[in-house]
């Protein structure tokens, strides 16, 4: 794997937070490297630091120490807006709790990042993306009018409609039943393959993790495998 093809690199990153009983070490000296088009699963028990690692890699928060480079740019020198600009049009997210805009329709939710990136025909592209996840008949529905599986598929459509180079998925099937979860996972890997999108996936599910090319196993903030 050459450095030019690497989408995200983390070197010796740690995250510590102050609590009432003293400092808590959430992540300790973690290294990560992911090449374009490849997939990485972060696994571990609850509270092991999986979601924190994903947030750090995506630039949603800052590490206490260590270096992260996203698409070759170091995140440490960037402020909040600089990190947002780096993600714009290149990064997609899928969250465990879906996190759709509650007052936007399915179509508007998917079109939002397209408009933000200034792409042409955002609504048309959003419609195509929703049809691709099988929700062509649900364009004008609000999130509360959709089932959990449907909401997660809208979130998926929103994530890939922009054609991201890197997709972060935080327990994407955690809130879904087994069958719906499998469908969503299938869609996720299909996007990973057909668009050449790199995938960082946080999951409890060993079968899902096994489908990824790389795995990081965390225990109490440390990488154990």
């Amino acid at each position: 794997m050459s450095a030019t093809e690497t989408v995200v690199v983390a070197e010796h990153i740690s995250k510590r937070v102050a609590t009432a009983v003293g400092e808590l070490r959430v992540l300790d000296e973690i290294d990560v490297q992911l090449a374009a088009g490849q997939s990485l699963a972060i696994i571990g028990e609850s509270g092991s630091g999986k979601t924190t690692l994903l947030s750090l890699l995506a630039g949603l928060e800052q590490p206490t120490s260590g270096q992260i480079r996203l698409f070759g740019s170091p995140l440490s020198g960037l402020d909040e807006d600089g990190r947002a600009a780096l993600r714009l049009g290149r990064v997609g997210f899928v969250f465990q709790a879906f996190h759709l805009l509650p007052s936007f329709t399915a179509l508007e939710n998917v079109a939002a990042p397209l408009e933000l990136a200034g792409l042409d025909n955002p609504l048309e592209r959003a419609r195509v993306a929703l049809e691709r996840v099988g929700l062509g008949q649900r364009l004008t529905h609000l999130p509360r009018q959709l089932s959990g599986g449907e909401q997660q598929r809208v979130a998926l459509a929103r994530a890939f409609a922009i054609g991201p180079r890197l997709l972060f998925a935080d327990e994407p099937t955690g809130n879904l039943d087994q069958r719906t979860g499998e469908r969503v996972a299938e869609l996720l890997f299909e996007i990973n393959r057909s668009y050449g999108t790199s995938l960082v996936l946080v999951t409890h599910d060993p079968r899902l993790a096994a489908r990824c090319q790389h795995q990081i196993h965390l225990e109490a903030g440390r990488r154990v495998a």
Partner: protein
């Protein structure tokens, strides 16, 4: 069992104190009570001051008057009721200084005269006047006209009846002096003991007896109620009814304060409704959990109600304390406009404040509470949006209506409240309807190409309930603020200028017919606007429709005044200014008379009826050709009876006019009038100044109340924006995770807030304007030039306020790292 429930309720209440959303509800309640109490208390102080001032005009809180000496039992009863009394006897007599003489009205007064108001006496003509006691025995105070007519200085001796009295001072102001202008002759004030000692009043003398009464308001009212049915030939006048001009000022002032109370109260009630909604939003999950655990809806409602009650009570008490502080603050800026200290308010405003506060609290929190208690346990399992139900949408306008009726009852200003409520309801309904249409349109066809513009409009349309709530609250808040700050101020100023610009301040009486033309020319030469002169005769009403006019036939107490006294009448070819026909025609043919509307009511007269009046030896019968509405407080010469000139042809008369003079003209008028010794000038500047003083006080206090309303409006806005702050924080985090910069999000937010603010503000301006026009016409009866500029100014003010409130309420919603917010989830 009871104690277990009680301790659970207390525990629940203690826990709820930690909820951040509870405190704004209590703050809003405190503001509501403070505003209502403060404005009502101040209004009461002004009313009490005005009542005292009316008292100053008649020398007491009430006056009993009669052509016969007053029966002893009436006096005894007044003393028994704890009232102070002072008797006054007035009669005409001639004063002599050497060969010169003048006919004056002598007023014989007791040592404690007057009971209200003050006597101002100057030691010499032109010297400054000072407050003085009643004249001592053997002394007399003469007014300027009497002194001028006798051409003697203060200190000289003059002859009254068989005795000599020393002139102890020049009478400048006498509480009874500013009353009915046309009956005033030059005046002299003596001690009543001198009347008997000098034998001034014989059994055949034509005297007028008055008993001044003063005491606590309730005692005076009780006395009036008790003696009124037993009066025979006596008349009882209460201070508050005594002066039409001052009574009108008091009524207008009450109307303004009623409006102010209403506006501030509405704002505070809105704030209660909004903060209560935010409180219940924040408690939904807790309530859903409690219901999951098996707690009944009634029990939950009891817990929530007990909590709000427990904390609401101290908030109301604090609000009353703050309200009394507020009125003291307002009085501080205004009190100097009154000659004496403003009377202290009683306990009534506090009681009313509690009543209004509880009403607002209950009616604006109960719908939200009942909705909260009904939260379904399934909320925990499935994310649902809490939307306003039809019951809530109905409950709020209903509550606003109840509150308005309450203020109506409190201030006695029914029409005012109804106009304001109708204006505001119309505003809310129209704005909500228009916005709804606009939101639908925007949602389908997003305008613009830039992300910021499209996103702002989408946000605007995506949360219709919040947008409607913010825009309507802002519109109502700004309408109230503009109504109070601009329209009410404008109304008062226009009312004031209507009163001061060309209001006559001098009456000239007893002008002989042959002097009219010359005097008119001379007044014009002085630069005084050419006044209208009216002939003036004194007569008596003897028959209505051919049947004698007796007190038995017209028992209305107001009718007796016209039946047992002289009747001033005049004639004119043109309809005088400050008069408007409400029925009939202005001169048709045959012997005709036009009557004032008041007369039509008192005597039950209509066009076509006949009146017979005796003037000297002549009887004049005329058909009522028209009924006039007369503006009695215009300070112009006005008559109840105006005859068609041919009808009274040949009748002897003097002439009367009223003029407006500035200080310079007044100085030059004095020497001019020396050439007309028969003409009696009457100066009403002092009365005008008093009235304008009250008007100024109203204007100044409205300014203070305006700032209170503005602060309340900002609170409302903050509360409206705070309702959606959780959702906004979450959405901001989501947008940033998708790559939006904080700058983009802020620009979107500013545009959205500015649009909502501008729209709401523009509508607020429109509503204030429309309500102002309606109030000017229907309540204040003044001409009002429509301030169209309120529309753009309202819109700009709305946008600015919305942005400012947004900056305060939403400051930092985009500051939390998105990871934290997304982990915590929506809300």
């Amino acid at each position: 069992m009871m104690s277990a429930i009680l301790s659970t309720l207390l525990r629940h209440a203690r826990r709820e104190w930690r909820a951040a959303e509870l405190k704004p509800v209590l703050a809003a309640l405190l503001v509501a009570v403070a505003a209502a109490t403060g404005v009502l208390a101040f209004s009461e102080r002004i009313e009490r001051a005005l009542a005292l001032r009316s008292g100053e005009l008649i020398g007491g809180d009430a006056v009993l008057s009669s052509r016969q000496p007053l029966p002893r039992p009436l006096l005894d009863e007044a003393l028994a009721a704890g009232l102070r009394t002072s008797s006054v006897t007035a009669f005409p007599t001639v004063l002599f200084a050497g060969e010169t003489s003048v006919l004056v009205e002598i007023k014989a007064v007791a040592a404690d005269y007057p009971l209200r108001g003050r006597l101002l006496v100057a030691p010499a003509d032109g010297a400054p006047a000072a407050q003085a006691a009643a004249p001592a025995e053997g002394e007399v105070y003469l007014d300027g006209r009497a002194l001028a007519a006798l051409a003697v200085p203060v200190g000289s001796e003059i002859e009254i009846g068989n005795a000599m009295l020393r002139i102890a001072g020049l009478l400048v102001e006498d509480p009874e002096g500013a009353g009915s202008f046309l009956t005033l002759a030059p005046r002299a004030l003596v001690r009543e003991t001198d009347v008997a000692r000098l034998g001034l009043l014989g059994p055949a003398s034509r005297a007028f007896h008055r008993l001044l009464l003063a005491g606590p308001g309730a005692a005076v009212e009780r006395y009036a109620e008790s003696v009124r049915p037993r009066l025979q030939g006596q008349r009882l006048t209460l201070a508050r009814d005594a002066e039409q001009q001052l009574a009108r000022v008091a009524q207008q002032a009450r109307a303004f304060f009623g409006l102010a109370a209403l506006a501030v109260l509405w704002l505070a009630a809105l704030a209660i409704a909004l903060t209560a909604r935010r409180y219940t939003d924040g408690r939904r999950e807790v309530v859903a959990q409690l219901r999951c655990f098996g707690l009944s809806r009634r029990r939950i409602l009891l817990q929530l109600g007990a909590t709000l009650g427990l904390y609401g009570l101290p908030a109301i008490i604090l609000g009353i304390v703050a309200g009394y502080g507020l009125q003291a603050l307002i009085a501080l800026g205004v009190g100097a406009l009154f000659q004496e200290a403003l009377p202290w308010p009683g306990a009534t405003p506090a009681l009313l404040g509690v009543l209004v506060g509880m009403l607002a609290y209950l009616s604006f929190t109960l719908p939200a509470l009942s909705r909260l208690a009904a939260t379904s346990p399934s909320t925990l399992l499935r994310q649902t949006e809490d939307r306003l139900g039809p019951r809530e949408w109905l409950a709020y306008p209903l509550a606003l209506g109840v509150l308005t009726i309450a203020v109506w009852l409190l201030t006695g200003e029914g029409e005012l409240g109804l106009i304001a409520l109708a204006g505001m309801s119309l505003l809310a309904a129209t704005l909500a309807g228009l916005l709804w249409l606009l939101l639908r349109l925007v949602r389908r066809h997003l305008p613009g190409r830039s992300f910021v513009v499209r996103q702002a409009f989408r946000q605007f349309a995506a949360r219709p309930a919040t947008t409607l709530l913010s825009a309507v609250s802002l519109a109502l808040a700004l309408a109230a603020v503009l109504l109070l700050g601009v329209v009410a101020g404008d109304l008062v100023r226009q009312w004031r200028s209507g009163l001061s610009a060309d209001t006559p301040n001098r009456f000239l009486l007893n002008i002989q017919p042959e002097q009219v033309d010359l005097l008119r020319a001379q007044l014009r030469a002085l630069g005084i606007a050419t006044p209208r002169f009216y002939p003036f005769a004194v007569g008596r009403l003897i028959a209505v429709n051919g049947t004698p006019a007796t007190e038995e036939r017209f028992p209305d107490p107001r009718a007796q005044r016209f039946l047992d006294g002289d009747l001033n009448l005049s004639w004119s070819r043109e309809l005088p200014e400050a008069n408007r026909l409400v029925a009939g025609q202005w001169w048709d043919e045959g012997p005709e008379v036009s009557i004032a509307e008041t007369w039509a009511q008192i005597f039950g007269l209509a066009v076509g009826d006949h009146l017979t009046v005796r003037v000297g030896e002549r009887e004049i019968e005329a058909r009522i050709a028209s009924v006039r509405k007369v503006d009695w407080d215009s300070f112009r010469v006005n008559f109840f009876l105006l005859f068609e000139p041919e009808t009274v042809a040949g009748l002897e008369s003097t002439w009367v006019t009223s003029v407006r003079t500035d200080a310079g003209q007044a100085r030059r008028l004095g020497p001019l009038l020396r050439a007309y010794p028969n003409v009696t000038p009457i100066d009403v500047d002092a009365l005008l100044a008093r009235i304008l003083g009250v008007v100024d006080a109203v204007v100044r206090s409205l300014n203070t109340i305006f700032w209170c309303a503005l602060i309340a409006a900002v609170c409302v806005l903050l509360a409206a924006l705070a309702v959606g702050v959780g959702a906004r924080r979450f959405e901001s985090a989501l947008w940033r995770s998708l790559g939006a910069s904080r700058r983009t999000l802020r620009r979107t937010l500013w545009l959205e807030l500015g649009a909502v603010g501008g729209l709401g503000g523009g509508f607020g301006g429109l509503a204030a304007l429309a309500t102002g026009v309606a109030l000017a016409g229907r309540v204040f009866h003044i001409e009002y030039s429509t301030p169209w500029w309120l529309l753009p100014v309202g819109a700009a003010l709305g946008a600015t306020l919305s942005l400012l409130a947004g900056w305060v309420a939403l400051h930092g919603v985009d500051a939390t790292p998105p990871a934290n917010t997304l982990r915590a989830g929506a809300g």
